[in-house]
């Protein structure tokens, strides 16, 4: 029997149903589907896929266990290199990473590695039971700043090595973007909490509601006896367009919109106390994952018209392919090659529309993408009652401005070498705080590398 060249599709909640709720869109493989998909993997001796994964998940090995029906074991293999597999299986841009290099991709569709990862991780999480083992403790006290994927990974890897690890988080809940940014329907918060609890079960202490740079400084941490610090503070500062009307009532940054909806659960208002203005015509400006999440939230909050306004074309959109597809099925409108010029409001100061201009693609710019240029005279007015700006984010300056000897790039990124070491001795950094907004798995990769370097450093003390 010839092998199938297509991968098996992910079962999903039907689009007309899911726009009425915040439950997960993807339902996950059943055991039968997982087995069938796992059997497509030809178990390469030199697996290309592994090179595409920033934390080098043992892909053929875990897939082999799925074929054997040893799902929990498959999950444990994942956890050998990836402390948060149930999250990565859901949100990694696999088509750009592991799956891009899968050998089967040459002649057909690559193995659905992400879907299998999700399946195995979920089985392990649900059936795996307690994996805590007594670990010999080693001298060495490390402070982790920020509990996003970078901080969680660095903390876990150091705790596994036996060091004394404390993680400081500014918000009232750990998880970083996983908790406040990525919506429930893509990444259930229960899963984030379970994965965080796993990290804590390794012996990591969590201190919530502590802002490093305000509540405590890096100097304070060293004075308290910490010997090394890892900064996984992310890139949480929102950008605005600086166009007229941006402070009208009804204009949100994507960060505010998503934080209200996800972290503060405004979709469940008034059972939860934090409100959000749902809007009936919502325009989200931007073309990345953040924009896609924001617009799909708007649809679920009841917007009749929920649109993406993006100044480049579909091809340049940086969002994950799956999310764009899901958004289309949910009736999201895409206004490509369109750029807002100003936000319009009524006499009470509420948003009524956006004046936009059509764009065309010109010569390639520094990023290699063709630069969008406005088409003169093509201005038009788009009626909207809520506008969400999803234009990207940059690192928060609180730590950099309160710590001496910590060098930053002009745009705010912390400067670090390939191990994550910053210009300040004993201080490492990784994730979005160094690279600017990137991906979960890259942040985890950076956390892992830094953990290794910190472990070496602590041995020399």
């Amino acid at each position: 029997m010839p092998k199938r060249t297509e991968r098996l599709p992910m079962p999903t909640q039907p689009a007309d149903e899911r726009i009425e709720n915040f439950e997960e869109v993807n339902l996950g493989f059943t055991a039968d589907l997982a087995q069938a998909e796992a059997k497509r993997c030809i178990q390469c001796k030199k697996p290309k896929c592994v090179e595409g994964c920033p934390v080098n998940v043992k892909i053929p090995e875990f897939i082999a266990q799925i074929v054997e029906g040893e799902y929990v074991e498959a999950g444990r293999i994942l956890k050998e290199t990836n402390n948060l597999p149930a999250i990565c299986g859901r949100v990694c841009p696999q088509e750009e990473q592991c799956e891009k290099l899968c050998i089967l991709g040459k002649r057909g569709e690559p193995v659905a590695i992400g879907r299998l990862e999700r399946f195995a991780a979920d089985c392990e999480r649900e059936q795996g039971g307690d994996m805590t083992v007594e670990r010999p403790s080693r001298p060495g006290k490390v402070a982790i700043v920020g509990s996003g994927p970078a901080g969680l990974t660095c903390a876990a890897d150091l705790a596994i090595r036996g060091f004394d690890v404390t993680m400081f988080e500014a918000l009232h809940a750990p998880g970083g973007v996983l908790m406040y940014g990525i919506p429930e329907f893509r990444l259930p918060k229960q899963i984030v909490q379970t994965e965080v609890n796993y990290v804590l079960s390794l012996g990591v202490t969590l201190e919530k509601n502590v802002i490093i740079g305000r509540t405590l400084t890096i100097d304070d941490l060293f004075k308290q006896g910490f010997q090394a610090v890892f900064l996984g503070t992310g890139a949480g500062l929102p950008k605005f367009m600086n166009i007229p009307g941006e402070n009208l009532n009804g204009v949100y940054s994507a960060n505010e919109w998503l934080t209200r909806v996800n972290l503060m659960k405004a979709y469940d208002f008034p059972c939860w106390d934090t409100p959000v203005k749902p809007g009936s015509r919502v325009a989200v400006v931007g073309g990345g994952n953040v924009a896609m999440d924001a617009v799909r939230c708007a649809r679920r909050l009841g917007a009749e018209k929920a649109s993406i306004v993006y100044r480049r074309s579909r091809q340049e959109m940086p969002a994950r392919a799956e999310e764009v597809e899901h958004a289309e099925h949910e009736g999201i409108e895409f206004h490509m090659l369109t750029n807002p010029l100003r936000v319009l409001g009524d006499d009470k100061g509420w948003v009524t529309g956006m004046e936009c201009i059509r764009m065309e693609l010109g010569e390639p710019d520094a990023s290699g993408r063709r630069r969008p240029v406005p088409i003169e005279g093509s201005e038009f007015i788009m009626p909207v009652d809520i506008a969400v700006m999803a234009l990207g984010t940059s690192p928060n300056p609180i730590v950099a401005t309160t710590t001496t000897g910590l060098d930053t790039e002009r745009w705010g990124g912390l400067i670090a070498d390939e191990t994550g070491l910053t210009s300040r001795p004993g201080v490492w950094a990784g994730g979005d705080a160094v690279t600017g907004a990137a991906t979960v798995i890259e942040a985890m990769g950076a956390g892992k590398k830094a953990a290794e370097a910190i472990a070496c450093y602590l041995e020399t003390l």
């Binding site: 500014a170 918000l171 009232h172 919530k208 509601n209 502590v210 802002i211 305000r214 509540t215 405590l216 949480g236 500062l237 929102p238 605005f240 600086n242 941006e246 402070n247 009532n249 009804g250 949100y252 940054s253 960060n255 505010e256 934080t259 209200r260 503060m264 659960k265 208002f269 008034p270 059972c271 939860w272 106390d273 934090t274 409100p275 203005k277 009470k348 100061g349 928060n396 300056p397 609180i398």
Partner: protein, 280 residues
């Protein structure tokens, strides 16, 4: 953690809490604030650090019941704990170290005013305090303010105590009578701060106000707190909350603060319906 050590009714609707928060007390400076949550489903709300005691590791909060979260907060008793408490947030106030400063508060604005007046007074500045409220029952912290003021002026809108009228009116009177000030600090409801700023604008008298926009995270992450100051958009939680009053766009600030009025009523009603708030 964050245990309430003392709770006091300053009036029917204004309450004072002293809370254990050693890390915050250690770092707090006049002008800074905290964000707290009372319950798991709860909102994050900002309150000024009205006072701090580094030795005891405690901070004082004074708040007025205006909606759901402040109502829930008012129900906590001594020995109870806040669910979450983070700070100190915002920029410390830039205060002069000598001269003569008018410290003006309307309503519960006296709570955020107090730490500034205290710091000024302790630095040897002459502090001329003007505090006002709707009626005398709502004039709070007068003893505390008195202890850090060179001169005290009380005002009530209804004339039930002191000067009959707004604090801005009293300030105008003092200026008309030839009183000189190096700077003014004015804190209270937006209309009160706007009125005060209009009194000092013609004189070019530097006037600091403390803005109270809607906030979520308090660390610069969301932009909910943006205010227009001069030609610039500023995030009040990290750039403020104190700004040069002559540059603040008050009309915009007032409009933005009204953004969730219907929702705020709804959440209060919803909570009461479910017996979430007891009226013992």
């Amino acid at each position: 953690m964050y245990r309430i050590r003392k709770r006091q009714d300053l009036s029917d609707i204004i309450k004072l809490l002293v809370v254990d928060a050693p890390l915050i007390a250690e770092k707090a400076e006049p002008g800074q604030f905290i964000i707290l949550r009372v319950r798991d489903q709860g909102e994050r709300i900002p309150l000024t650090i009205a006072d701090f005691d580094r030795e005891k590791g405690q901070i004082t909060l004074v708040f007025q019941i205006v909606g759901l979260t402040t109502e829930l907060l008012a129900q906590l008793e001594e020995g109870d704990s806040l669910l979450d408490l983070v700070g100190p947030l915002g920029q410390p106030a830039h205060l002069p170290e000598s001269g003569r400063v008018a410290c003006i508060a309307g309503g519960v604005g006296v709570a955020p005013l107090y730490p500034k007046a205290k710091a000024l007074y302790q630095a040897g500045v002459e502090v001329i305090t003007i505090i006002g409220a709707r009626d005398k029952g709502l004039l709070v912290m007068t003893d505390m303010m008195d202890a850090v003021s060179t001169q005290m002026h009380l005002c009530t809108d209804d004339g039930s105590l002191g000067y009959h009228g707004f604090v801005s009116g009293r300030l105008q009177e003092l200026l008309d009578a030839g009183e000189q000030f190096d700077e003014v600090v004015a804190i209270g409801p937006l209309p009160m701060m706007r009125a005060t700023v209009e009194v000092t604008r013609p004189l070019g008298l530097k006037t600091w106000v403390s803005l109270n926009p809607i906030m979520v995270d308090g660390t610069g992450m969301c932009g909910a707190c943006r205010v227009s100051v001069g030609d610039k958009t500023q995030f009040a939680c990290v750039d403020g909350p104190m700004f040069d009053g002559h540059l603040v766009d008050f009309a915009e600030a007032m409009r933005r603060n009204q953004m969730y009025l219907p929702e705020e009523e709804k959440s209060l009603h919803h909570c009461r319906c479910r017996g979430g708030i007891s009226h013992a």
